[in-house]
């Protein structure tokens, strides 16, 4: 279902703007027919429309939201307008998608492991500076390479082996380090001495005796099991297997999860997976046979754990840890991987584990549905779990994949189906039957029971001919896998009916296209159009006339066809655009533009309008966006209150270009009086001063009271000079000094002046008092 949304959205975005849409639609079709996973195409489609969006995880929360997000990110202005006017189309699409969603939940395609996983593994697991940073990482890388069949480089091998031997011989390694070292040793087969292994065995056995937490048990039991595989001479069997089983079981919870230790209440599904792996290890290492009842209760625990399994819409099952536990493992991938490991190792030790096959298939689909993960740990989880599922003793899942979900009627493609195991190996002999074909929007499909023809050379099942009545459009094909050998039914999980979405594309014939200018109902001028070829119309109309466009669309089978877009666009010379939807009745598409009613909508703009017709659909191989020519429209003048046409979008490159230069306008200086007036008044101001001096002379001023004897005279002179100095200081202050220096100097002169003045005036006062008394 996601697939169809992607196609329709990508097509909408592409078709609305690109002039050479034919090239792009053929590009898109060729891309679709190549072998890509749905995720990859999604990325490509989004890149086409809105720049790079990287998706490392997979789920889209809600499809409608995603469409809206894509639409808003679109940079094409025309496209936004298109959405406004194509409301009918949008609603139609949503209805179609909802209908499809309601038909079937599991419409998705899963592909087994492919070349892209190999290249991703080589890229993600490339060791830094020639060696891996830890033995755990080394094991993850080496295990992934082993499953995918990649050769290890000899220099990495040497480095890692050295690290392994160091860890195994060191006395300070704890059971965790030993476990990881033994894991790597198992893959690389480094040279280890028997004594070292014996020493480690005894340490690990002690660790088992003293173990309190689940991880202690896990690492030590796991280590002992690995030693058992690597060296047949060392005795690793456990004496108290029953007791160990019981103490591990004591950590289990009633809801199927496991705790990490007795005093720590946090539990997780990841821990449950580890527990089952440990338990199966104990069973394998038991020196004596274990109580059957105990094993029975453990089997019940696994089944209980499967009660908490969760499901996605496309049929994948997974386990999720809602709480992040202390070891930092979180997320569905690590939890599901742990459970798968535990389940498969437990199943290998004992028969008859009752897990329904659709759940195993669902788990396989979950891991395959990730596509190619973005980081090394996720890739390891995916590959490791799938290798466990590949040959497990419960049921081996078989994946039905479609290399190409787009069929072209014009190139007479044959529909191909592949059935493989999860790692891509050949499936047992089986036959694939096409059971039902649902066309988009209908719940009932025609019931066929067409068997696909098997080509053993390419290991592909092919549909020789498409069922009757499969015209262009979107369909859902329902397949069923039937195993040839009835014995295999128990061993393999086929998953009942698998539904896959299929697009059938073809060339849509455009017939009988014509454009006419109508006066009332009478045809004034009519021209035939060659669609989808080139056309160059030159029409003219006034506001009393109508423009009529009509054409027929037929599918390759001769049935009527309604495309996503059938739009007529009129674009004025100033850039103002108007878009109209071309309605249809059956095969016949027509639209009539009555200019009398549209005068207001066109903002009363007369002039030349370019006409463009767009007809497009995801399944139409010859979608087109054709300029048809131009029409000269003569509209009446705009009345006073007419709305203005919307401002055209500014060229974004101009927006950030250099702006007009701003010249700073200085404040106009105040009007000053002409200089002569100022000088005249300067003279005039001095006149009263002169008059004052003259008046003083007239009054008969004299300096008789000036002291004559030396010291008082000196003081008097100093007094007057002091005052003169202060006045001079003021003049300097006005001319150039600042207040601070002035005040400083004034202070100094003032002190001097006060002293001098006091002496002088007191002398004068005493002189006048003497005169008075005398």
């Amino acid at each position: 279902m996601r697939y169809m949304i992607i196609l329709s959205v990508a097509d909408l975005i592409v078709k609305s703007n690109i002039a050479n849409s034919q090239l792009f639609s053929s590009y898109l079709t060729s891309m679709l027919s190549k072998q890509h996973s749905g995720r990859r195409l999604f990325t490509v489609a989004l890149t086409l429309s809105a720049g790079a969006l990287t998706i490392s995880r997979f789920r889209i929360s809600s499809t409608a939201d995603q469409i809206r997000k894509i639409l808003f990110r679109s940079q094409f202005i025309e496209f936004d307008q298109l959405i406004e006017f194509g409301m009918a189309i949008k609603v139609g699409i949503v209805v179609v998608l909802l209908a499809v969603a309601s038909i079937c939940e599991a419409v998705a395609i899963f592909h087994p492991i492919s070349e892209s996983h190999l290249s991703a593994a080589l890229e993600l697991f490339s060791p830094v500076a020639g060696s891996f940073s830890s033995l755990e990482e080394a094991y993850e890388a080496l295990r992934t390479f082993e499953v995918l069949g990649i050769e290890k480089k000899p220099d990495i091998k040497d480095d890692t082996c050295n690290s392994v031997v160091d860890t195994l011989s060191s006395m300070s390694s704890n059971s965790r380090d030993l476990y990881h070292a033994l894991q790597v040793n198992g893959l690389l087969k480094c040279k280890t001495s028997k004594d070292a292994l014996t020493g480690i065995t005894s340490r690990l056995k002690d660790a088992v005796k003293d173990a309190t937490s689940l991880l202690d048990y896990y690492h030590s039991i796991g280590g002992l099991l690995l030693i058992k595989d690597q060296s047949s001479e060392v005795d690793v069997l456990l004496k108290n297997a029953d007791g160990i089983l019981r103490s591990i079981k004591a950590l289990s919870q009633s809801d199927g999860r496991w705790r990490y230790s007795a005093n720590n209440p946090e539990s997780s599904t990841y821990a449950a997976g580890l527990a089952f792996e440990t338990l199966s290890g104990v069973i394998q290492l038991a020196a004596s046979t274990i109580d059957e009842n105990l094993i029975g209760t453990l089997k019940k625990d696994i089944v209980k754990l499967f009660d908490s399994i969760e499901k996605y819409d496309d049929g994948s099952y997974y386990f999720d840890d809602k709480h992040i536990d202390s070891s930092g493992h979180q997320g569905p991938l690590s939890a599901t991987a742990a459970v798968v490991r535990g389940l498969t190792t437990f199943a290998s030790t004992s028969e008859s584990l009752n897990i329904p096959e659709d759940k195993i298939l669902g788990l396989a689909r979950f891991f395959l549905g990730i596509g190619v993960p973005g980081n090394s740990k996720d890739l390891y989880y995916q590959i490791d779990s799938l290798s466990h599922l590949e040959n497990n003793r419960v049921s081996v899942p078989l994946i039905l994949s479609i290399p190409a979900t787009v069929l072209s009627l014009t190139s007479k493609d044959k529909f191909k189906v592949k059935v493989n195991t999860v790692l891509g190996s050949i499936a047992p002999p089986l036959s694939v039957k096409l059971m039902q074909v649902f066309s988009s929007g209908s719940k009932d499909g025609s019931v066929l029971k067409q068997e696909l023809h098997f080509d053993p050379k390419e290991a592909i099942h092919m549909l020789d001919a498409l069922p009757e009545g499969v015209d262009i459009g979107e369909y859902v094909f329902a397949f069923e896998i039937v195993l040839s050998d009835p014995e295999h039914k128990r061993k393999f999980a086929t998953g009942g009916r698998t539904k896959v979405p299929v697009h059938v594309t073809g060339v849509v014939k455009v017939d009988d296209a014509k454009v006419a200018v109508l006066e009332g109902d009478i045809v004034e001028s009519e021209k035939k159009l060659d669609l989808p070829g080139k056309n160059d119309l030159a029409l003219s109309a006034n506001h009393l006339q109508k423009l009529h466009l009509s054409f027929l669309l037929t599918t390759p089978f001769g049935k009527p066809f309604k495309p996503h877009q059938a739009l007529l666009k009129l674009r004025h010379e100033t850039g103002v655009e108007h878009i109209f939807v071309v309605e249809n009745s059956g095969r016949h598409f027509e639209t009539t533009l009555d200019f009398l009613g549209l005068v207001d909508k066109f903002f009363y703009l007369s002039g030349q309008y370019d006409i463009e017709l767009t007809v497009g659909d995801a399944v139409m191989e010859n979608s087109f966006l054709q300029p048809l020519g131009s029409i000269e429209l003569d509209l009446p003048k705009a009345p006073e209150k007419a709305t203005q046409p919307p401002p055209q979008a500014v060229n974004p490159y101009l927006r950030y270009g250099p702006k007009a230069e701003i010249a700073h306008i200085f404040r106009a200086p105040e009007k000053r009086p002409p200089q002569e007036v100022s000088f005249a008044f300067l003279g005039l101001v001095l006149v009263p001063f002169l008059a004052f001096l003259v008046g003083l002379l007239r009054l008969g001023v004299n300096l008789k009271n000036f002291p004559t004897s030396t010291i008082p005279a000196a003081f008097a002179i100093l007094f007057h000079s002091g005052i003169a100095a202060v006045l001079l200081l003021y003049v300097l202050f006005w001319l150039k000094l600042d207040l601070f220096t002035t005040l400083k100097t004034l202070g100094l002169i003032g002190i001097f002046l006060m002293f001098v003045g006091h002496r002088t005036l007191s002398h004068l006062a005493s002189a006048s008092a003497k005169l008075k008394s005398a």
């Binding site: 008044f681 006149v687 003021y730 003032g750 005036l761």
Partner: protein, 117 residues
């Protein structure tokens, strides 16, 4: 028939009496009066200038007028204090009044120079 006293004659008589009374004032008071008249006239000329050319550097105009008016006021205070007929300031020596006059003038002119701009 006696001629009725016209206002013109009254004005003349008033003016003459004022003039003769004024000439009796001591000289130092006359100097101070002359100084006050000088200051007021300078202020009036500045106001006339402003009226003609507009008050653009208003602070300068204000400081000019204020200096004239301020110094006139201080001179009037000096005259009051120095006048021997003024009973209120009998004990104040005139030199002291003059020292105050000088000090206040200096402070006034500092402010004026600062405000002149």
């Amino acid at each position: 028939m006696v001629k009725p006293a016209t206002t013109k004659d009254d004005a003349h008589a008033l003016f003459h009496s004022l003039r003769s009374a004024y000439s009796a004032t001591p000289t130092n008071l006359k100097i101070i009066d002359l100084y006050v008249v000088f200051a007021v006239f300078t202020a009036l000329i500045q106001v006339a200038y402003m009226a003609i050319v507009g008050s653009f550097p208003f602070n300068s105009f204000l400081s000019g007028v204020l200096s004239c008016v301020g110094t006139a006021v201080l001179a009037v205070c000096l005259r009051i204090q120095v006048n021997k007929e003024n009973k209120e300031f009998k004990d104040l020596p005139p030199e002291r009044a003059f020292a105050d006059f000088v000090l206040c003038n200096l402070v006034l002119h500092l402010v004026i120079m600062n405000f002149l701009g």
